[in-house]
Symmetry: C2
Subunit: 493 residues, 2 copies
């Protein structure tokens, strides 16, 4: 066995521990009874601790150094894997195992506190947890180090190679266009009736439609499933095991359906990673900004398109008789209406990124130390007012709406907008191939998925996100395709 | 911290690993998608291996020896915990970690093969797996060592202090009485109409009734849940987290209901163990023969009683309108009818132990090397014919019906009949207290549960099963109470 293979064996061992933690995390959100929380926190902390101890062990470092000493061709998978493992080692090595365990236990409790705080709309219940997790994040940023600002150290953990200043510049450039598109889109949508759906859409029937749609776009249920949770997510809990979740609004089936298409987009990326490389960088998604490109592509570019509903509206009307009589044109206008609203995950495409910009700004200030936890609700509401022209009526619909901070996920939000840009750019590139766009026009997405499999999924983490985008689309991420998409969809130009 | 406390910390660490394995095992049976099997086997093997390596480590032995060096009062919890941990260490230490990992991986695959083999009723699909697992069992018996025969080494892993020869002698003594009671009960039951229930009992409504009943007898759903599996079980996957499973027959709601009462009996034992001692012997059930006493007590002594159905038949008829008009007397005669049947888990009380005796004999011969795996179906069918007077029409209803062998659980079956004896003896002792029997007559089982909590659950593994029975009932396990119960229930005397 070569040193490289020995290194891979260790990496796979680490992935057994971390994926086991993912099973427990999934279970916590889906089925775990309340009284189990305290012990579950211990289990998760233990698993994170063991994984981290192994990832930073002398044994791992020795294997890494030996593998680095071997000659692997410059652009080979082997070289890429070794390079990423070195990056990950350097990152992990700077964080003591004790801190990993403490943070894991703290997030298990913080998640439970967040659920409670959000339910009661009482920020004070969550504030001490956020304080603690912000402390961990700031400490980790110092331990990791950074050139520019501490937020860089967090952001680059989610988006390889990203820098806060560059992302901020990109967002600053985007913002005027986004704001003007959003305002005009909202204005134009005022002619679309707010209420289109009538009657009840039973959850069991939504499940049936969701499953049919997810299967038809390519999600593989022999290696995955869909469950119900308060906050939808996609989690890979092992090789051949990708789990999506959703929630049901019985007055509007599209909310769950678009949610499932979104998570299935994440899930198909995971299912398209090279299975034999599970646990290695080459078998792992490269970044959240690429991940989100897949979910947004299927949710929005496919799921809100004319071709899609031409096929699926009649089918939906078979499942939900109360849909009969709803015209395709009216339905499409309705699923693509824009309005300013409080909840990011329910926001339409035209206003979505404004939510992201707000969070990015607030997080950046928190991490810098410019914004105190106690002042987050007020800062949120002020910023919201300036972007959306309205103030959240309570923190449940304000700064308590997102799960991320309770999971310690500071530095994460920017990737949602990067995902929108990447998704639009990938989609428009793929659609330039006639056989892909012809098939998509007939609601056959197999050629599109095949293209994504080759250009994105199969690459794992062997390329930096910027290089992946360059190879797939001919250029780095730019706002061009995304803005064109928004203008075409919402402003008809 | 004393040496004892350090030892306990290590034991708790081991229990984090093993309970994590239980979460994954539960998930495998309930929700895991098919393609995940291969990797799940790796995860489980890894966790078993790590737990075993820690339980047999020099670190653990040193802590154990130090704790043994401390003076703890002879009958204290501390002394009992140290004693059991020494027993467990001696057992674990004799088995190499590699073997534990190999066996774990083999059982994950064997379980999947068993499901397939049973579905197709094709023993040949399962035979190579059984061969492999029997090999592991025989090897482990040799490594553990035994005074009498290799089966002792396996049996005592499930039932502390039990010896094959003594159990065999007990069963030999029981057998004539069991056979004669069974034959007479079956004869008498011929006057009970086979078909009493009409129409459909939808699974969703069965779930509702099951839950009400489980709650009413004392199962705590804030620390537990019920899911659906092919083979019902109860699994504790962490402190405060006890999970039951059941399956639904929509033509007969009692099958799932009695199953749930059975598993809830197991579950309430687990929920009654001292929570603060989770992971220590004093917080762990002592043996399967005691465990099964709890499940059989709630399923049969409570669940098939007149008092129980006096309350629950009217409630069931509210949930299932097709039950209206069914008379209590006829219903009771029907749920307590006896007949010779092929499937153990569906067998009535009067014939149940004959199934156990058969399996005990076959296993003992397999482990001894007197019966080849290939000859198991024929041996099973011959023995079945001689006990029940009929031959299983296929292996699905013969030697492929039980999950145990596929889990490597050889040496396990005898504890089912020990459980019946223990359950009857505990129940009859408790019922001698007027306040317990008066309450039970009104379908109030809180005093009975409180008695079991004190006499059985709270003891954990601090007493040997025989001593626990002696302290709780005044004598070791004897067939007396059980035979009296069977005669009273089935022969009216």
């Amino acid at each position: 066995m070569t040193a490289y293979h020995k290194l891979c064996e260790l990496a796979r061992e680490i992935s057994i521990l971390s994926s086991t933690g993912s099973v427990l995390g999934w279970d916590q959100e889906t089925y775990m009874p309340d009284k189990a929380l305290h012990f579950r926190a211990k289990q998760l902390a233990y698993l994170s601790g063991r994984a981290h101890a192994l990832a930073t062990s002398g044994r791992f470092l020795a294997a890494l150094e030996k593998a680095e000493g071997e000659k692997h061709p410059r652009h080979s998978k082997e070289a890429a894997n070794i390079e990423v493992m070195r990056e990950e080692f350097e990152r992990a090595f700077r964080i003591p195992t004790k801190l990993v365990e403490e943070e894991s236990a703290a997030t298990t409790h913080a998640k439970a506190a967040w659920v409670e705080a959000r339910k009661k709309s009482e920020f004070a219940l969550f504030a001490p947890h956020l304080e603690k997790l912000l402390g961990f994040a700031r400490l980790k940023a110092e331990l990791w180090g950074y050139d520019g600002e501490p937020y860089d150290a967090l952001l680059s953990g989610y988006e390889r190679g990203a820098r806060t200043r560059e992302v901020a510049a990109l967002f600053d450039k985007l913002k005027p266009d986004l704001v003007s598109i959003a305002r005009e889109a909202v204005e134009r949508s005022k002619s679309v009736p707010e209420k289109l759906l009538r009657g009840k859409f039973p959850a069991a029937k939504q499940q049936q439609l969701n499953r049919e749609v997810a299967e038809s776009i390519g999600f593989d249920f022999t290696g995955g499933r869909i469950d119900t949770t308060a906050h939808p997510f996609c989690s890979t809990v092992g090789a051949g095991d990708v789990r999506l979740t959703t929630r049901y609004d019985e007055s509007d089936f599209t909310s769950s359906l678009f949610g499932v298409m979104h998570e299935a987009g994440h899930g198909m990326y995971e299912q398209g990673l090279p299975a034999e490389d599970f646990g290695l960088p080459s078998g792992t998604a490269v970044s959240l900004g690429i991940h989100e490109s897949q979910s947004r592509l299927w949710e929005n570019h496919v799921g809100r398109s004319h071709a899609f509903w031409e096929k699926w509206l009649p089918r939906a009307a078979e499942i939900f008789p109360n849909l009969r009589g709803v015209k395709l044109k009216a339905f499409l206008a309705w699923v693509n209406r824009a309005e300013f609203s409080f909840i990011r995950v329910e926001a339409d495409e035209a206003t979505y990124d404004l939510h992201v910009l707000l969070r990015f700004g607030i997080e950046r200030r928190m991490v810098r130390g410019d914004l105190k936890v106690a002042d987050v609700p007020a800062a949120w509401n002020d910023e919201f007012k300036s972007l959306f022209g309205m103030t959240p009526p309570d923190d449940r619909r304000g700064c308590l709406q997102d799960i991320h901070w309770s999971m310690g996920g500071l530095g994460y939000f920017a990737t949602y907008s990067l995902g929108n840009l990447n998704g639009a750019q990938l989609f428009s590139t793929a659609m330039r191939q006639k056989r892909i766009s012809d098939a998509a026009a007939m609601c056959d997405y197999a050629p599109l998925l095949a293209w994504l499999r080759t250009k994105v999924h199969a690459r794992g983490s062997t390329l930096m996100p910027a290089d992946l985008m360059r190879e797939a689309t001919g250029r780095e991420t730019t706002p061009k395709a995304y803005l064109a998409h928004l203008r075409s969809r919402f402003l008809g130009r």
